[in-house]
């Protein structure tokens, strides 16, 4: 049994600093009755990574699709204080965006955003949660080790409190060089505190209202090992779905449609009311 923690004096005393957030929205032409989707990006990414393909396609399939840039990322404010941002601030950004929507959304988080969504699900009763190539819910040591294997210097820089450098081959398995380079140029800085927290954090609480969770993995992920994805799925009592031939950034790959269609089919099956 997971204990409920109602008494939160330090959270009450130290609310996250308010910021302006960039939210990119693609809406269906007509009201379809389908639940809204809220996409949350990963480390160094921003809402724009979902606007490349996924938002428009989700809207075409009848889902109001939104993506938020976490503080200090993309077009959101708080860049000057990024070095002090923590995962708790990111969770705040996600929930603030969720409650501003007309209905309870399905939260869809990628990589670090997957962990942030897992934490948000424990604080806000979303309709459901989708964790895409998520940093594992219990700890990110597997990802740190994977990073250390591919690029020991990148790991050391991260441990020294600098933004972790990334290489295109760690993120993509299908893209040509030019497209990959373009996406790499769009990456921003990351908060060192959030990077540390990604490695060492405890498991978040259970999803409020028993929201169902889908865990999606990438077959050729160089940053989140398959074992970590399975561990996350097991935590939610479910089986992960792996997409063969995909790198870590599934939403930017050439065959981006496959994982998204699978996610949308899962969302379409959800009961419309949280229980």
């Amino acid at each position: 049994m997971h204990k409920v923690r109602a008494y939160r004096p330090l959270e009450w005393a130290l609310p996250p600093r308010p910021v302006e957030r960039e939210v990119i929205s693609r809406l269906p032409d007509t009201e379809t009755g389908r639940p809204p989707l809220l996409f949350v990006h990963g480390m160094r990414h921003a809402a724009a990574c979902f606007d490349e393909h996924w938002l428009r396609h989700a809207a075409e399939r009848g889902f109001p699709a939104h993506a938020v840039s976490l503080r200090g990322h993309g077009g959101s404010g708080g860049r000057d204080l990024l070095r002090r941002a923590t995962l708790r601030d990111y969770v705040h950004d996600v929930i603030q965006t969720a409650v501003a929507l007309p209905r309870q959304p399905v939260l869809i988080g990628h990589s670090m955003g997957g962990l942030v969504v897992a934490m948000a699900l424990a604080r806000y009763p979303a309709l459901g949660g989708v964790l895409v190539a998520p940093v594992a819910v219990d700890h990110g040591l597997g990802s740190a080790l994977a990073l250390g294997r591919h690029g020991p210097l990148a790991l050391l820089r991260g441990l020294a409190g600098r933004t972790v450098p990334l290489r295109p081959e760690w993120l993509f398995a299908q893209l040509d060089g030019d497209t990959a380079t373009r996406h790499m140029a769009g990456l921003g800085d990351e908060s060192p505190l959030a990077q540390y927290q990604m490695i060492l954090h405890g498991p978040p609480g259970r999803p409020l209202g028993g929201a169902p969770v889908l865990v999606v993995g990438a077959g050729e992920d160089r940053l989140v090992p398959a074992g970590d994805v399975r561990r996350t799925a097991r935590y939610y009592g479910t089986e992960p779905v792996f997409h063969r031939g995909f790198g870590h950034d599934l939403m930017l790959e050439t065959r981006w449609r496959e994982p998204l269609d699978q996610i949308l089919s899962w969302v379409a099956e959800l009961p419309q009311v949280t229980r």
């Binding site: 049994m1 008494y7 939160r8 005393a13 309870q104």
Partner: protein, 451 residues
């Protein structure tokens, strides 16, 4: 609606009375736990006290909350970042509407339905509710259980004085804005948060403002150390700073900033800071210091327009505004004994549970030293956990009600004995009380999980 009026009492639907801050949380949380809910609301809109102009709304044009956002909001529905630390009542009303829309609660609420009678049927296996609609039609419905969330800040509590007052005698329930004060000599009675707010408005708009309080209070500014004051207090609580040290720190801070209030003619507080709920008001001291408010002790008697005070002084006023608080009442409950009414107050375990029934609850009947809606949320989570445990582990619920009977009068005041007036019956220290609710929630949850 016919299906709800099943006369056999065989219904699985729960009734929530009132769609204010506590009722909405009850509907939302019971729904989230999978229960069918119907909410009966007398007004045509959600918000209760915060539905300005509604039948049970007692806010006035300038009302802002006195606890900052993190203490005030529902924990799973935070107020927008763009809102100030202390939002205005119109924002609160918008907040409740958005909460109801976001969680799809409106289709469970029957507006314009006033509950006029509530009584148990089938040996209290179900409850019979009589509602009166706006066109005066009465009808009876049966429910599996009832959550009473009718609010407790609408039935005025009037003070009694000797003599007759010839001018306008009003209660704060009638006070909607400063227009009524213009051109008048006004006596504001009451040192609570409303009394101080209204005294400030009288200072700004009336010809003269007199403020009668029975005792000396601690006036806490809304901001200290660059933060909302309640956040400073909870930072110290969260860091486990003992109460005595916190009291010393706050005393020292107030002495260093506001200083000795007796120089304005206010009485010395007869209690230490944090021993009664603080008056959160930055402006009262400001206007006292500008001579816009004349502090006065208790009223002894009236004689025409003449007021005599406890210290023997006399004055003439045109209007007396009694900000003397409200009385908790559940006037539709046929037999108030069901909620352990002793003629003066309700005796409930954690202000929510009655040991007599496993299907009758009260939400929101508290006077916290902090925000209300956060706590109402956890109260209604506790009710939902109770109902789930009742289905899955009936024996555990019976044991729980036995505990409730034994600890009926346990007060969650963090060891402070608040002075015993009707207002103080339901006073709680938020950190003590929320921890108590947390224990209840986890106890019931454990019972439901292990069966």
């Amino acid at each position: 609606m016919a299906e709800r009026g099943d006369p056999t009492g065989r219904t699985a639907t729960y009734c929530v009375i009132g769609a204010g801050s506590s009722g909405l949380a009850a509907v939302k949380n019971l729904r989230q736990y999978g229960f069918d809910v119907e909410c009966l609301e007398r007004a045509e809109d959600v918000g209760g006290n915060w539905n300005f102009g509604g039948p049970t709304s007692r806010v006035y044009a300038s009302t802002h909350v006195i606890s900052s956002k993190p203490f005030t909001q529902y924990p799973d529905f935070p107020m927008p970042d763009r809102w100030p630390d202390y939002p205005h009542h119109s924002q609160l009303h918008a907040y409740f509407r958005r909460y109801a829309e976001h969680f799809d609660l409106l289709r469970h609420i029957r507006f314009g339905h006033e509950v006029v009678d509530l009584r148990p049927v089938d040996g209290a296996a179900a409850w019979q509710v009589t509602v009166r609609t706006a066109d005066g039609v009465e009808e009876t419905r049966h429910y599996a259980g009832v959550v009473i969330a009718n609010g407790h800040n609408w039935q005025p509590k009037w003070p009694r004085y000797d003599g007759e007052f010839a001018g306008e005698l009003l209660h704060s329930m009638h006070y909607k804005g400063p227009d009524v004060l213009r051109g008048k000599r006004v006596l504001v009675v009451g040192g609570g948060n409303t009394g101080c707010d209204v005294a400030v408005e009288a200072a700004q708009h009336a010809d003269r403002a007199l403020h009668s309080t029975r005792r000396g209070y601690w006036y806490v500014p809304k901001f200290t150390f660059g933060r909302a004051s309640d956040q400073v207090n909870d930072l110290l609580i969260g860091l486990r700073v003992p109460r005595r040290l916190r009291q010393w720190l706050f005393r020292a801070t107030l002495r260093a900033t506001v200083g000795d209030l007796t120089r304005f003619g206010l009485p010395e507080p007869d209690h230490d800071i944090l021993e009664t709920h603080p008056i959160v008001n930055s402006l009262l001291v400001y206007h006292l210091g500008h001579g816009d408010i004349t502090p006065k002790p208790d009223v002894r008697r009236f004689d025409g327009y003449r007021v005599t005070f406890a210290d023997g002084s006399e004055d003439e006023v045109d209007m007396v505004l009694c900000c003397t608080g409200y009385l908790a009442t559940v006037d539709f409950l046929a037999d108030p004994q069901r909620l352990n009414w002793d003629g003066d107050r309700f005796h409930l375990y954690q202000h929510v549970f009655t040991p007599r029934h496993d299907n009758l609850f009260v939400a929101g009947l508290i006077q916290p030293d902090s925000g209300q809606f956060t706590i109402a949320h956890w109260q209604t989570v506790a009710i939902a956990e109770f109902l789930r445990a009742r289905e899955r582990a009936p024996h555990a619920v019976r044991e729980f009600l036995e505990t409730a009977r034994r600890k009926l009068d346990h007060r969650y005041t963090a060891g402070v004995d608040y002075a015993d007036t009707t207002r103080h019956y339901y006073e709680i220290a938020h950190h003590d009380y929320v921890r108590g609710l947390e224990r209840t929630i986890n106890r019931l949850r454990r019972a439901a999980c292990t069966r």
